[in-house]
Amino acid sequence: MSQKNQPTKQAGGAAAPPENAAGSGAVSAGPGGKRGNKPKGPSLFGLLKPYRGLVLLLIALSFVSNGINLWIPKIIAEGIDSFTGAKLDTHYIIWKFLAAAIGVFVFTWGTTFLQTYASERVARDLRTRLADRISRQNYTFLQKTNPSQLLTNLTSDVDSIKMFVSQAVVSIFSSIFVIIGASTLLLFIQWQLALAVIAIIPIIGITFYIVLKKVRALFKTSREIIDWLNKVINESILGAALIRVIHSQNLEYVKFLEANAKALGLGQRILQLFASLIPVIIFTANMATLTILALGGHFVITGHMSLGNFSAFNNYLTLLIFPILVIGFMSNVIAQASASYMRISGVLNAPDPVETGTITKDLRGKIELKDVTLSYGEKRVLSDISFTVAPGSKTAIIGPTAAGKTQLLYLLTALNHPDSGSIELDGHPLDNYKKEDFHRQVGFVFQDSIMFNMSIRENIAFSDTVTDESLARAIETAELKDFIDALPDGLNTVVSERGMSLSGGQKQRIMLARALAIQPRILLLDDFTARVDSQTEQKILANVRQNYPGITLLSVTQKIASIEDYEQIILLMESEMIASGTHSHLMATCPEYVQIYQSQRSTSHYEQHELQS
């Protein structure tokens, strides 16, 4: 009888404010409880709080349509009995029946319409809230949660909550309503037979409960396998070029096949469970038909029941079975939705980064680092870095692969925060600057090309502070004018995703123009020269000097030739700062620097040659 208790408990919760009581009751899926970890999670029904009116209206509508539905077998019974009683009032019954049918039609339609509307609205609002929350987070958060998980949150997780709103909420309430309603009506018609028929509810309920409990565990595994499958697909799409160069399609296929075969095996195991469940349900329901015939027939013969009511029993039986199944399936939907909501809540409840900054004044460009340390997990990325950059000066950061150069720039753009040590701008800690005003004055050219699928104009004038004049100056400085003018659509040419139609150097220059367009006081270049030829590079740097006087330049680079005249060169190696000073100072004091210099020396006369031109 335990299963029978559960719905009534839920119904009790529903009568009370639906937010909390019903939520936890439904989530922990009944007596015996699954794992006791659910109550800690945020309540799914709590999510519906702002839509209370809508949900209540929805439930009310479904009650009405189900109520009328329950009435229909009674009308039929009445018809049969009035016929056997030989005082047939056909017209009256037809009108009653027609009214009921139209009523069901109107209210069902209303319910489904409202269901769609409510679920889509909840989904849309949830997505907006998520996106809003994500958009306020900092880079560290994004790295920690990783974009593909956020993509899942915004798409499939929201979808399963949508499913919950559109199907589970109404179904559960109306199913309970129908079960109670039909049982009550049966009890009123003939209580002995009714009890025999109602006995099928716990039998079906318990079988369902046992099987679904097993299925749910498999569903969880199946979700993991689907994630795995998707990962293989995603990597095969993103790495398409490499796969074709190596001709490793077969290898990818093997990887995929492994995951796909697992998915097939799991699907078949779930199927096995259902294959044992469905016959039991149908058989039990059939046994109820049998009982009605045997016992009901007896009652009709002995005159304890009319033939109409005998027929009504059969009709109510059909009405009764479906809701039991629905509740079972919906408990799955709810379980999935609460798992999804749990994941989403993790994002929604992540604390907003607090805006500590108040300073809004213009930067002069002095940068000072003191004992800055940064770790990435257990790995030291930067250890005790200290240096000062004078306003308007040029500083280069040089060093081998994975020395921590890019991470250092991330710290300076406030994308990351140091574990210890301080970063000061014009004598004030970086955190004291208002983010908005800070970013407005610091231009960052990233190492990896980041293009948006929009026009070149929008890609360059990405910040909203860009004027036509500053846009034109940035384009000119980045030596992009000829290139853009040659395009049929000019600035309005749309760049494809990942910038496939542009060359590496063009992307790099567009990114430079993007950074320059905000007219920054500080310009951070991350390996800008890597994909731009020396001639263009020299021209561009000369342009920067001319068009943006007084700009503080901090450049991560590999080429010594182009930084020999810089005021300061910082040498990073394996997270540590080995040396700093001018070119000549380092040449005289730092053997590592000399080694790097030597590695480029053989061709440096060409680079020199270019410099002078």
Binding site: I80, A101, T116, T155, N286, A403, T406, E497, S604
Partner: protein, 600 residues
């Protein structure tokens, strides 16, 4: 040739119309070996339907013969018939079980084959396909749309087909018991059919629109999140919100449209089902009064009406599911209908190639009057001819956007030239199978790509020769080729973990892995497309040393901006404005770089 349109969102005419049944046929054709299983399942479903149909007859006749028959009410007759019913229900139990196993198994296998087919197709398609479609949209198609089909197969298909049989059986019994009443009862279902016929295309259209906007939204999210650091550094959090909000609103509107369309069947079908009951009630009672029908069969009739209309009503819900699956299938079949334009030609073109009067021995690689144009009409290369010999080092220099990467991509046959020919070892490159070609040509791409896994897995990726090597053996191999030292750049050497999308390792490290990966494959022709651009010059010296130690016959093609990387080249090509010119010496190349007017 290379101007093939691969954009999935540009619908070509012949793909525009896919009606429901041919689409379904195509789907089932994926599984020729499963047809026997399918037929067996169908037979069992028919048995199940018959068994289900017999029960109401027994109930009806029991009522007629033993309950309503006032003259000889016989309770033992009821019990006897109950015994028959029990037998039927027990047989039914078995039928239901096997129906579920067989039909569900078929669905699972179909899904398995469908996923395989899509993945296979994705692997067949050329690079151009991937550059013309948004990765987010593709991923949405493959993941989300397959999942929609999955839901249909795992949840609805069996019920769907089983319902069809029950409906058919119930319909037949209704007609057999009393054809007049049967016809009248079935009349509303004709209206249902007409309704479904008219409404379904609209429902499908709405679903297609909704799926499309879902794809667009996931593409939008993918892009914004991938580029999040730019969004932050340029103070455009509002950009993310705004772009997302547009996609979200669009998705909301189309989803509501699809939702309402999908829900249209349920109330209408429910209403028609009620009409069926009404007909039985009024007309049935009328027939009884004029003596053409019995009360017992009236109750059987009600059971059949339920058997007929209930599955129909359930099918209403499933039908929407079905339309959604079909809309998804449409989107997927668009991928499946794409054909690679990079076909392998038969080898007999050899003769034609030789007949050009070129007396020299075939070069390792030769361009003959090669031009290339992207599908968007952008001309990249004009009429270029050159040769590359075995064992030499070639450098491609020139301003950005001059066509260097395109030249390299043509050598690796990521694209085919729009005009002209490329010969590899004197043979048209198109006559090589991909396996032969990729064994000969190594290409380190400008944008390194790593798979989730370890450094070892990544450097041995696709490597037939070393794939089963233990760590020690691999270390020996790496040492011999001088690659060992590069591993010190990774904290845990070969075992260092890599997350594909993650920022855990630097661009320079990624390039190192791509370099090791390509060198270990030991190709005859190795192309480095700015492959070391983000690697420091000291390490780069080591890479040069490694390249120098490659077998004497290996040809190297190096694209670089840093002149020191190309100073040892035997020959330098200057690539600019779609023309590939030979520069005599490094000095001359530098001159060209300085004087050459950039056309890009």
């Amino acid at each position: 040739m290379s101007s093939t349109n691969y954009n999935l969102n540009i619908v070509t005419d012949e793909q525009k119309k896919t009606s429901t049944w041919p689409a379904l046929r195509k789907l089932i054709d994926l599984l020729p070996d499963q047809k026997g299983r399918l037929y067996l399942a169908l037979v069992i479903m028919i048995i199940y339907a018959i068994l289900t149909m017999v029960a109401p007859i027994i109930v009806g006749s029991t009522i007629n013969n033993y309950i309503l028959n006032k003259t000889h009410q016989d309770y033992s007759g009821i019990i006897r018939n109950c015994g028959w019913l029990l037998l039927i229900f027990s047989l039914n139990l078995g039928a239901v079980y096997f129906r579920t196993i067989l039909m569900g198994g078929f669905g699972q296998r179909l899904l398995f084959s469908l996923r395989n087919a899509i993945f296979n197709k994705l692997q067949e398609l050329p690079v151009a396909f991937f550059s013309q479609n948004k990765a987010g949209d593709l991923i949405s198609r493959v993941n989300n749309d397959t999942d929609k089909i999955n839901q249909f197969f795992s949840q609805s298909l069996m019920q769907f087909i089983s319902s069809l049989f029950i409906i058919g059986g119930a319909g037949i019994f209704l007609l057999v018991i009393n054809w007049k009443l049967g016809l009248a009862t079935l009349a509303p279902s004709v209206l249902m059919w007409v309704f479904a016929k008219f409404v379904s295309p609209w429902v499908k259209k709405k679903n297609a629109a909704s799926l499309k906007s879902t794809g667009a939204m996931s593409g939008e999210i993918q892009e914004s999140l991938g580029n999040f650091k730019v969004v932050l550094a340029f103070n455009r959090r509002d950009y993310f919100r705004q772009r997302f909000s547009e996609a979200n609103t669009d998705n909301y509107t189309t989803s509501i449209g699809a939702g309402i369309a999908n829900q249209v069947y349920t109330p209408v079908f429910g209403f028609f089902a009620s009409m069926g009951q009404l007909v039985v009630l009024t007309y049935g009672i009328y027939l009884i009064t004029i003596g053409q029908f019995t009360a017992g069969f009236l109750i059987s009739f009600f059971m059949y009406v339920n058997n007929f209309y209930d599955p129909l009503r359930q099918m209403a819900a499933l039908w929407a599911n079905f339309q959604l699956a079909i809309a998804s299938w449409d989107r997927i079949s668009k991928i499946l209908s794409m054909e690679s334009d990079l076909v392998t030609l038969p080898d007999d073109s050899l003769a034609a190639v030789g007949a050009t009067g070129d007396a020299r021995a075939p070069a390792l690689l030769e361009f003959r009057d090669v031009s290339f144009r992207y599908p968007d009409g952008k001309n990249v290369l004009f009429n270029n001819s050159f040769r590359m010999e075995k064992g030499k080092t070639y450098a491609l220099v020139g301003p950005t956007g001059g066509g260097k990467t395109t030249t390299a991509s043509l050598i690796a046959r990521l694209y085919d030239p729009t005009e002209g020919k490329i010969l590899l070892g004197g043979r048209d490159i198109r006559t090589y199978t991909p396996a032969e070609r990729t064994k000969k040509i190594g290409f380190i791409l400008q944008e390194p790509f790593l798979f989730t896994g370890t450094v070892k897995e990544n450097i041995l990726y696709g490597n037939e020769e070393y794939k089963d090597f233990s760590d020690e053996d691999l270390h020996t191999v790496l040492e011999q080729s001088g690659l060992e030292t590069l591993l010190t750049r990774f904290d845990e050497g070969l075992a260092t973990k890599i997350v594909s999308a993650g920022d855990g390792i630097s661009l320079g490290q990624k390039q190192l892995i791509a370099f090791i990966r390509a060198v270990l494959r030991n190709p005859e022709l190795l192309i480095l497309d700015e492959a070391t651009a983000n690697i420091d010059t000291v390490t780069e010296k080591m890479l040069e040393e490694i390249l120098r130690r490659l077998p004497e016959t290996t040809t190297r093609v190096i694209i670089a901006h840093r002149l020191n990387t190309i100073e040892n080249a035997d020959e330098i090509f200057f690539v600019n404005g779609g023309e590939i010119t030979r520069a005599g010496s490094l000095d001359q190349a530098v001159d060209m770089l300085l004087q050459g007017k950039r056309v890009s």
